[in-house]
Amino acid sequence: MDSITLTADLVALAKISAFVTAAAELTGLDERATWQVQLAVDEAATNVIQHAYDPDHPGDLTLTWRCEGNRFIVALRDYGRQFDPQHVPPPDLNSPLEERQVGGLGLYLITRLMDEVRFDFNPQGGNLLTMVKYLTTGPRDDVAILPLTGRVDAVTAPQVNREVHAQIGAGARFVLLDLAGVTFLSSSGLRALLLIRKELMTLGGELRLTGLQPQVYEVFTLTGFTQVFAIHATVDEARTSFGLKHA
């Protein structure tokens, strides 16, 4: 789970768009599904920005996302006036130009682009709009083993990221990095592994490491990161530790 809180003004739109696009891409939504999510969230955020608060005193807007199985869930919360979707006029999709009304298009797009849409309100929590997009490929429930070789440093970290993200995009959630072939790990490399670990946890998954050569293990002990990462002596031991049925 990850979230962002911004003041509900127009400047927030670009940030919200970037945030949710990155989340959708990380989760493995394809290009079209990512665009659909981006547009739905933009319309929802626009509604909050334009209607929730007094324009001179905009309050906050919080966007949260998480992944549960094959459901990509986005929630938008504001503390402004209560929003009742029943009060929004149904969209006019057919009238000729001169008579065409443009109200209700934003809400209509949200319901067409997302697979599930729910509006909740209570006086303490404010408005909560929950939207779900289904992933076409369900997440894998087995361990994806990725061998790394050579140096893991500032130069090679982008390539490592690409490889892991490709696995995530194909559904991997439980990733074991086999570092048996890694001869050198710098702090940049460590940072990259830390980020991958965080991303997998945000998706409800896990990162484990195995095969660390002594000089690589030493980087972890020196920086205290043996406390943070799950490091295993063998691939089999790591596999079992995931605790999965099909590890």
Binding site: L10, S17, D42, P91, R100, V102
Partner: protein
Amino acid sequence: MEIEHRRFNRVDMLVVSGRIDAATSPQLKQRIEALFETGRYRIVFDFAQLAYVSSPGLRVLIEARKKARDWKITDLEGGDIRLANLPPRIKEVFDLTGFTSLFELYSDTVTAVGSF
């Protein structure tokens, strides 16, 4: 969002790139109004580089078209807003909202400009 303007003899062309959303649509509206104010009511939009449009953008376009068509040079000839080079995603938003039937759409700007 960036808007590039090209002036032809009878028609003006606006090349829009980037995003038309709630934040940028006022700027688009202003640009169109600026042309209307100088008596120019025939506009072609080149959307080849348009990455994204949301409902506030659609609202600006439909209101502009209504206003352009209201302006008549003679009883036979009037203003209009015509659209060219819609990328697939933009076309999809138009289809979803029933906007495809509200505009004349062209697959290239030469034909669009020549249609006036």
